[in-house]
């Protein structure tokens, strides 16, 4: 994928969590969403994070995706400590090294398909021609070029999620995080999106998804089980 990715030594994991904790403080209560998480994900892996509701999957994903910060512990991404970066630097890494796919697509309703896909590239400050090339390539990859002028509300759920995938991959990230990517889709569209993620992984992408579905979890090479904020299982697919 990127030039940076190619320099990673095989022995060095792409993602490394050591003793990560996450606590939420309300007025009178301290809730531990994650406790003492140790985790490593290598480049090119396809990992599924499983667990019941409230187990801490989404919190783990938001920390992995630098959407949130751990209360304690260390998080190394691409051989660099990222757990304690300031908001600006975290935003820069999210923009350049991480791609997201969300359950509810999270396309911006006031932007066209093209503009939604272009948005992270615009934040990166890429020149117009380069943005155009990447957006066209990403839309082509998800077979949505013909819908580039449409607004999100004019698309079906499956189509919206394919646009979200295009947006996630347009910037050539180091890793793709997907939070219940099929949760808002029917089974046919869900399959299509999961096929797409499979294709991305096959072409070398590191993919990490959170899912309730055991069927979709089985498509990953490795499944991490979370329960009550702890990793209770970590197994490679048979």
């Amino acid at each position: 994928m990127t030039q940076v990715e190619q320099t990673i030594s095989p022995s060095s994991p792409l993602i490394q969590l050591k003793g990560v904790k996450k606590a939420f403080f309300t007025e009178e209560l301290e809730t531990h969403a994650l406790s003492d998480i140790h985790l490593e994900i290598a480049k090119g892996e396809y990992v599924a994070i499983e667990g019941p509701s409230g187990s801490g999957k989404t919190t783990l994903l938001s920390i992995l995706g630098l959407l949130d910060t751990p209360s304690s512990g260390a998080y190394r991404l691409h051989d660099r400590e990222v757990g304690s970066l300031d908001a600006r630097e975290r935003a820069r890494i999210r923009n350049r090294e991480i791609g997201f796919i969300f359950q509810t697509f999270n396309l911006i309703g006031d932007l066209t398909v093209w503009e939604n896909v272009e948005l992270p590239l615009l934040y990166r400050g890429l020149p117009t021609a380069e943005r155009k090339r990447r957006v066209e390539a990403a839309l082509d990859r998800v077979k949505m070029t013909h819908r580039k002028g449409h607004m999100p509300f004019q698309l079906s759920g499956g189509q919206q999620q394919r646009i979200a995938v295009a947006r996630a991959v347009a910037g050539d990230p180091l890793v793709l995080f997907a939070d219940e990517p099929t949760g808002s889709l029917d089974s046919k569209n869900g399959d299509t999106v999961m096929d797409l993620l499979g294709e991305l992984h096959a072409s070398g992408a590191t993919v990490c998804i959170v899912t309730h579905s055991q069927e979709y979890a089985r498509r990953a090479a490795r499944t991490i089980h979370i329960f009550d904020g702890r990793v209770v299982g970590d197994a490679l697919a048979a």
């Binding site: 938001s62 959407l67 949130d68 600006r88 820069r92 999210r94 923009n95 006031d110 947006r167």
Partner: protein, 815 residues
């Protein structure tokens, strides 16, 4: 740059998506910026922009001072004094005198036109550096006794009356029955004559049109009617000019004790003198409009903050995709700047309309010298105001979006996520600020309005309803003989009385509340005369028979004048109640005799034959001054107001010129008006300030009420689920209403509390600039508190009622 363009494009798209919201923001902004730009333009035009003459700082006004007279300082100078000053004042490069005169311009085949004219001395135009648009202007050669009657016309008159005829110069026009040769047209836009005068149409040489010019007699020296202005020598300060003029006045006092005892001279900057009457009101209104703008900013900041809150989901997506907090803030700021740029354009356009409205109450003498307009400086200031407002209103929501956490995107619906405590506090602070500022502004306006209402309720002493005035200036040569004046008035009034609906008609030389004055020191037969310069002044009003009935002035004792009170008969006078009280101390004045002291003239005692009620002359807010009436037949005056009580005032205003011209076809009626308008106009600046303050206060009330309404509505919407649960478990509707209203009323209470000290400050400022305002009027403070409270309760009630009407089930489902 590309990102910026994308943000601008996105903002314009947002306008299309939420037109109602953005139209509201823009409307509030355009009104706020428009009013501020208009008010700033007026302040800039009057106070900051120099007079439109070369070296304007050298221009000076010279006034007579009489410390012990009722008018200690007035712009009235006698011809001999002016000529002495001019001969001796070496600190001045030029000294010019002017005398205002109404002209009736007759043209064959058309109605005589009444013109505003001024006799000017030879230095007038050179002193002001005015150039002619056509021909030449009046110079020293024209301004000599016995000189040719020549006239300079204004460019406006040239366009209007002479169709911009380039051959006008050299043609003769008839002014007041005399032929005058037009020698030139003044520069375009120049209609100035003095600091107290309205716009003028024609200028004539003073020495040619002023009858007593160059008569250095004591009578003429006591006759102070010229206005004098000058240009100081380059580098001479006002103080040095004052010193020299004071020394000259002192010498004149020694040389002419009968007329110049205790008469001094005061010099003042011309610009300051012109704008003096408007300065206070401009400052007060500028302050008021600034407060309105502050409320506008707080309101818009609150609206944008609410908008930013509803876009938390979008901002979380952008953040998740790698937009740094500063980038999100930049986007919000860009949106705000686009809004304010549009607001600035709209405000600038609106200000060009509002500037005329706001300036309409400014004295005409000010606008004769200074053109009030929105110029480049004002527009730049408007832009600066907009940027400042934009910075304030935009930074609040911009700061809010920097607090958006990207992990909110993983929530079920980020847009519905609760308001952060910080943002809720910020919105409350903005609403409290609006209430506080609105309270202060409402109190200030309330005090000014109350003072104005009290003045407006003061009876003028006569009944202005169904009373019409028409002013005639009998300056034509045909009225040189007194009997001609008396005959003209008698014939015109007879014709007026024949008109349908006319109940009574008469004439006077000093119209109540008309701004004119006549009179002077006087003596009472049988009492020790006051020393020269120390005696009181008695107003004098020459009137025709039937005057008191026409004006509905009560005759308290004795009788009024009749046709038998004519020249050659017994000299008589009617005095006012105030005169009787002040000078006769309860004794019956009927039969006593008085006379005005005029130079060395022998006494002509007048017998008092009646006492009438008091009339206010200077204004409804100015104390009654002693006055006496004399028959016009015994003291003919050529500047007379015809006063007519009629059932059809509008018809008479329309027909008056035809009635006058039926008696004298060459005579114009210089002014026609209803007396109710005269009374209203006498309130002048105070009415202007009070009405504009009232308008600004209403705007403040509406905006702050909207602020409370918006916040309570939003907070209630955020609590829909909670309210649903409360209702589901059996809460009574009134308990829910109270719950919703409590938050709004808490803001109101804090706002009022914080507004009180601000109101006291505003009240003191208003009291120091607006006459008769008491800064600590508990009635006003209480009334405004009640008004603001009622408005806020109403604002809270709507969302509260909406909340209790929500079915509990749907409220719970909304999450």
């Amino acid at each position: 740059m590309l990102s910026l363009l994308a943000d601008v494009r996105f903002t314009l798209r947002l306008f299309r998506r939420a037109p109602g919201f953005y139209a509201t923001v823009l409307a509030v902004l355009v009104c706020g910026v428009g009013a501020t730009t208009a008010m700033f333009s007026i302040a800039e035009s009057l106070l900051l922009r120099p007079l439109p003459f070369p070296e304007p700082k050298e221009l000076t006004v010279l006034e007579s001072t009489e410390p012990e007279s009722p008018h200690p300082r007035r712009p009235s100078v006698s011809v001999p004094d002016f000529l002495d000053w001019k001969a001796q004042a070496t600190t001045f490069a030029q000294l010019a005198a002017v005398d205002h005169e109404g002209f009736s311009m007759a043209s064959a085949g058309s109605t005589p036109e009444s013109l505003s004219g001024t006799g000017v001395s030879g230095d007038f135009f050179p002193m002001l550096g005015i150039r002619p648009a056509l021909g030449r202007l009046i110079g020293a050669d024209d301004d000599r006794v016995g000189g040719a009657p020549v006239v300079v016309v204004s460019a406006a008159l040239w366009h209007r009356r002479f169709a911009s005829d380039p051959a006008l110069v050299g043609r003769a026009v008839t002014l007041n029955g005399r032929p005058f040769t037009v020698i030139g047209v003044a520069a375009e836009g120049f209609e100035f004559s003095s600091v107290t005068s309205k716009r003028v149409d024609v200028w004539t040489p003073l020495a040619v049109t002023y009858a007593g010019y160059a008569l250095m007699t004591p009578d003429e020296r006591a006759n102070r009617s010229l206005e004098v202005m000058g240009r100081r020598q380059h580098g001479v300060s006002l103080e040095n000019a004052q010193k020299q003029l004071s020394a000259i006045a002192q010498n004149l006092e020694g040389a002419h004790p009968d007329t110049n005892s205790k008469v001094g001279v005061a010099v003042a900057d011309m610009h300051a003198s012109i704008v003096e009457s408007a300065r206070s009101s401009v400052f007060v209104l500028l302050g008021a409009v600034a407060l309105v703008l502050a409320i506008v900013c707080a309101n818009i900041a609150n609206l944008l903050l609410a908008r930013a809150q509803s876009r938390r989901g979008e901002m979380a997506i952008r953040s998740a995709l790698g937009a740094a907090p500063s980038r999100l803030a930049l986007q919000v700021v860009t949106e705000t700047v686009v809004i304010f740029a549009l607001g600035s354009v709209g405000g600038a356009l609106l200000s060009t309309v509002l500037v005329d409205l706001f300036a309409s109450g400014i004295d005409h003498n000010v606008t004769a010298a200074i053109t009030i307009r929105v110029d480049l400086t004002a527009l730049l200031a408007s832009l600066a105001i907009c940027l400042l407002c934009g910075a304030f209103a935009g930074l609040v929501p911009a700061h809010a979006v920097t607090r958006v956490e990207p992990h909110e995107i993983l929530k079920e619906n980020a847009a519905r996520s609760g308001v952060s405590r910080g943002q809720a506090s910020m919105r409350s602070v903005l609403v409290v600020a609006q209430v506080a500022v609105a309270f202060a502004l409402l109190v200030g306006s309330g005090l000014a309005l109350k003072a104005f209402a009290e003045v407006a309720a003061t009876p003028p002493g006569f009944n202005p309803t169904n009373l019409v005035e028409g002013f005639v200036d009998l300056a034509s040569v045909k009225y040189e003989k007194d009997e001609k004046v008396v005959t003209f008035l008698r014939d015109v009034l007879a014709k007026v009385r024949e008109q349908p609906g006319v109940q009574a008609a008469s004439a006077n030389s000093t119209l109540p509340l008309g701004g004119g004055e006549d009179g002077g020191p006087f003596a009472i037969e049988g009492t020790t005369p006051w020393r020269v310069g120390e005696g009181p002044v008695l107003g004098r009003n020459s009137i025709s028979p039937d005057y008191f009935r026409t004006m509905e002035l009560p005759i308290l004792r004795g009788r009024e004048f009749t046709e038998s009170d004519r020249v050659g008969g017994r000299l008589v006078a009617v005095i006012s109640h105030a005169t009787a009280e002040r000078f006769f101390h309860g004794e019956d004045p009927i039969g006593r005799r008085i006379d005005w002291v005029e130079g060395q003239k022998a006494r002509s005692w007048r017998e008092i034959v009646g006492v009438v009620g008091d009339v206010r002359h200077g204004g409804l807010d100015i104390a009654v001054t002693p006055e006496a009436y004399i028959p016009v037949a015994q003291n003919p005056n050529r500047s007379m107001s015809l006063v007519v009580r009629t059932a059809n005032p509008d018809a008479l205003v329309e027909s008056l010129p035809r009635i006058v011209q039926a008696v004298d076809p060459d005579q114009g009626v210089w002014r026609r008006q209803r007396m109710t308008d005269v009374v209203a106009r006498s309130l002048g600046a105070q009415r202007h300030v009070a009405s504009l303050l009232g308008a600004f206060a209403v705007a403040a009330l509406v905006l702050s009420t909207l602020g409370v309404f918006g916040l309570v509505s939003y907070a209630t919407a955020q609590r829909t689920r909670e309210i649903g649960i409360r209702l589901a478990i059996g809460a009574m509707p009134e308990a829910v209403i109270l719950l919703v209203m409590k938050s709004g009323l808490r803001l109101l209470g804090v706002g009022l509390l914080l507004g009180l000290p601000a109101a006291l400050i505003v009240a003191r400022i208003v009291a120091s600039h607006v006459p008769r305002v008491s800064a600590f009027d508990p009635v006003v403070y209480t009334a405004i508190t009640v008004l603001l409270s009622v408005a806020s309760v109403a604002a809270c009630l709507a969302p509260a009622l909406r909340a209790v009407r929500t079915p509990p089930a749907s409220a719970v489902r909304c999450d």
